[in-house]
Symmetry: C2
């Protein structure tokens, strides 16, 4: 029913995770209203992603070229490696502007039910990095789900032979959230991990 050109755009939008039929149609009709210059620049930007964006050879984050700007930056502290699931997490934590170490992107979480085993994510690459330089602390920042916890446990075990500190970011009540919207598991963790109130 839609002209074939429109149908193609709708189908493209439907390939984005979290975009269903209605959102894809809404985005498509917004796109159609863009002027020709804007459409050209959007298409060009997508081609640039195709041609220029790759994965950092060291940490696995996204970058233009061989290495990401963090791995290239000599002033970053290579003793601290911050382990995250996906490239976006790197930018999320970088925005805070409080971390001066480097990152390691696993590219997924262990999930046997989905057929994702330790060898399918960049754990070997993490161990390689640790073998090659003298990392002092590995900060695990994976999401607090079964998959995230399993992956963190696995990495902790793998790193046992090393003289290295393994830490994990805190689980608890997000600021500004009413307790009643928080699941019991998080409430339990927040209670268990309580700290002296000074």
């Amino acid at each position: 029913m839609y002209p074939s050109v429109i149908k193609k755009i709708i189908d493209n939008f439907k390939d984005f995770p979290g975009i269903g039929d209605k959102s894809a149609e809404r985005l498509t009709f917004s796109l159609i209203n863009f002027d020709k210059d804007k459409l050209q620049s959007f298409a060009d930007a997508i081609i640039e992603v195709k041609e220029k964006i790759g994965r950092c050879r060291i940490c696995g984050s996204i970058c233009e070229g061989e290495l990401c700007s963090i791995c290239q930056n000599e002033s970053r502290n290579r003793k601290n490696i911050f382990v995250v699931e996906k490239p976006k997490d790197v930018f999320l934590f970088e925005k805070l502007g409080i971390y001066d170490g480097v990152y390691h992107v696993l590219g997924g979480l262990i999930s046997p039910l989905d057929g994702i085993n330790p060898e399918d994510i960049a754990i070997d690459a993490l161990v390689d990095r640790i073998n090659k330089n003298e990392a002092k602390e590995i900060i695990l920042a994976l999401k607090p789900t079964i998959e995230g916890e399993t992956t963190m446990q696995y990495i902790k075990k793998i790193l046992e032979p090393y003289e290295i500190k393994v830490t994990k970011i805190a689980t608890g009540i997000p600021i500004g959230t009413d307790m009643e919207y928080i699941d019991t598991m998080t409430l339990e963790m927040a209670l268990e991990q309580r700290k002296d109130f000074t």
Copy 2:
């Protein structure tokens, strides 16, 4: 902080109505995960929109070429003109498969506060169409907001000199919705426009 290529895509997504910073970032990181073929085909589809999609010379809906498939279709009843705000509405009502007339897309609603006056939307074009053929019924299907109602009132007035039936789609309680979520204006309209229950 983001590589410039990524920044460009985020900015492009932010130009879509209803897409804020977070959604734009989420869409961008999904896009980065597409393989090269998918990125190319997405960019190609956008260029096709740029080059092929225009507005139907008769009804103002979107189409490839000069006329939309509805205006080209000889079996559609040209006596009935269904007036909508935007091209998307055409497809919305076409999906129902119950209307066999033609459409007219205004391309906006009268909104003096936003500087949109009757001459800024396709009302003249509608009157032209009515002058040129013997339309029997104009079905107004604009949204029940101040702008929509104002526009429908205006069109009704403009069409007074013509021997033509002007109807308006019903305002009321949507199926499956609890009354308590419906605004008082709609409740009032639903009551006023009550029908014999047979």
